[in-house]
């Protein structure tokens, strides 16, 4: 059995979306910027896709700038604001400690360029600390960037509340909504944000395409320089088939949401959580705050994450430790550390992310596989041996570790 529970890393392309793309991978191949018919036909479809994305998030088509993905959208937002004349007066950027590397690394680069950057802490439940936000956001704050849903633990962030604080101080607000779109309702007006990032391949669309919502009236600096495409905010020949697929994927994801797909997935996710907790002792469920319905992050104390994922892979179960982007890195996930987990527990964490086609059978199979793999690895974990010998329970252990540091 092959069970894919890594939908936060990427999703399969919907067959309907591929069907919609194929004409633009075959006969309608023109450059959408070309003035002739080969181009115009494609231009129309690209603009239709723009409308689809805009409609899904409650924006106007002109407010959608297509990019090559979520990472580029995040970078365009952060550098677009900080390179623009807006940045002459305000020199502070406020973000959270649990952002995706696309935001974290951009913020580190901004720090090098002389910006003050505040990484807001999160509660043990994985939700940004509103008190800290209130304190950090001031009249010198140019931009607040807070993700809508965390990719590793799935927690939803209080973007609306933070946006209100930001507005009160005259700061701009960006949200990385890459992991939210298609999973929960995302309406930019309701959130009160000026900028929002999206990525197609996270919602059954093609890879290599994303979008940045840029509120009407906001003037960004482009990150790439070149032709006239995307109102000069994103030059380069448009990835028309990708954009067209993205538009279809967003629309279909929205329809699924409207039909209650999220509740079906949530029920399966909750079942997986229950099964794992029933079968495996000494675990921590990460992200106690409100979560997107498809994500479950659990630390299996005293075993190591890569060993877990590889063992599960051998059983046909695909999950990830932390985010796919940082796999191969030796450090434990910055998100889990931000929750206050000790590194040796953070190291043993798995992210299960379910998808629209996930079945109960798959969930049951996965739970069984995880239980046996954890058991096998713990059997030769020296840390587990010591833990058992200590006769502490995990809660006490975590408490003691917290006191030590």
């Amino acid at each position: 059995m092959r069970v894919y529970l890594d939908h936060n890393a990427t999703t399969p392309l919907r067959e309907e979306v591929l069907e919609g793309m194929l004409p633009f991978l075959r006969e309608h191949f023109g450059n959408p910027s070309s003035a002739h018919n080969f181009g115009k036909r494609v231009r129309e479809a690209v603009e239709e896709a723009r409308e689809r994305v805009a409609t899904a998030i409650g924006a106007r088509p002109r407010e959608i700038i297509f990019t090559s993905g979520g990472t580029e959208a995040d970078n365009l937002a952060l550098f677009g604001v900080t390179n623009s004349p807006l940045a002459s007066k305000r020199r502070k950027v406020v973000t959270s400690a649990i952002e995706h590397p696309a935001v974290i690394e951009s913020c580190k680069a901004l720090k090098k360029r002389g910006f003050e950057v505040v990484f807001l802490p999160v509660t043990p439940e994985g939700v940004v600390d509103l008190g800290a936000a209130e304190e950090a956001i001031d009249e010198n704050t140019l931009l607040v960037s807070l993700m809508l849903a965390n990719n590793e633990i799935g927690t939803l962030q209080p973007v609306r509340e933070v946006a209100e604080m930001a507005k009160a101080k005259g700061a701009l607000v960006h949200t990385d909504a890459v992991q939210a779109l298609g999973k929960v309702r995302v309406k930019v007006e309701e959130l009160g944000v000026d900028l929002a990032s999206f990525s197609s391949h996270k919602l059954y669309g093609p890879k290599g395409v994303g979008a940045l919502y840029v509120r009407t009236g906001l003037r960004l600096d482009p990150l790439l320089h070149g032709g006239h495409q995307e109102r000069r905010l994103r030059p380069g020949t448009e990835n028309a088939p990708g954009i067209i697929g993205f538009g279809l994927a967003v629309e279909l994801a929205q329809e699924d949401l409207d039909r209650g797909m999220d509740r079906r997935i949530e029920a399966l996710r909750d079942r997986l959580q229950r099964l794992l907790l029933e079968r495996i002792p000494h675990v921590v469920v990460n992200g106690g705050g409100p979560r997107v319905p498809n994500t479950l992050n659990i630390s299996f104390a005293f075993v190591e994450g890569e060993a877990l994922t590889l063992s599960l892979d051998a059983e046909g179960v695909a999950v990830s430790t932390g985010s796919a982007c940082s796999s191969g890195s030796l450090e434990p996930s910055h998100v889990l550390l931000a929750l206050g987990l000790p590194p040796e527990v953070a190291h043993g964490s798995l992210r299960f992310s379910l998808g629209k086609d996930t079945t109960q059978e798959e969930v049951d199979y996965a739970a069984e596989a995880v239980a046996s793999v954890v058991e096998r690895l713990r059997a030769f974990s020296p840390l587990y041996e010591d833990f058992l010998r200590s006769e502490l329970d995990l809660e006490q252990y975590l408490l003691r570790r917290k006191e030590e540091t």
């Binding site: 890569e306 434990p332 190291h347 059997a379 030769f380 974990s381 020296p382 840390l383 010591d386």
Partner: protein, 142 residues
Amino acid sequence: MMENFNYSQKVMEHFMNPRNVGEMEDPDGVGTVGNPMCGDVMRLYIKVEGDRIVDARFKTFGCAAAVATSSMVTEMVKGKTIEEALKISNRAVAEALEGLPPIKMHCSVLAEEALKAAIEDYLRRSKDEGDRRVQPSHKHPL
């Protein structure tokens, strides 16, 4: 990312079916190395008869490479004299596993260190001539 790697078949085989796994009763030497913060801790037990390591076992918290290098080093050490065992280098362990990805070479270093720590423990004990019950040495926070 390009840092992504494929383990050799040998590594995967030793990871999925590690040799000499588990505790040893009455070991003559025990070495624990590594740091749980970094994601790997190895504990290596040896039994020595005369000058020769007649058995070795391990417990490891760590990635596939950490498990495989532990498994391999216990295999390599069995039947060797203490002197011979001290010559086992991390490269030799990695080579026996048909190579390790660059960012995983430190696991072979850990395996070498765990072996040395176990041998040192054995040597210390032989010098002490004491026969008190072995307590594994903890470097990790418990």
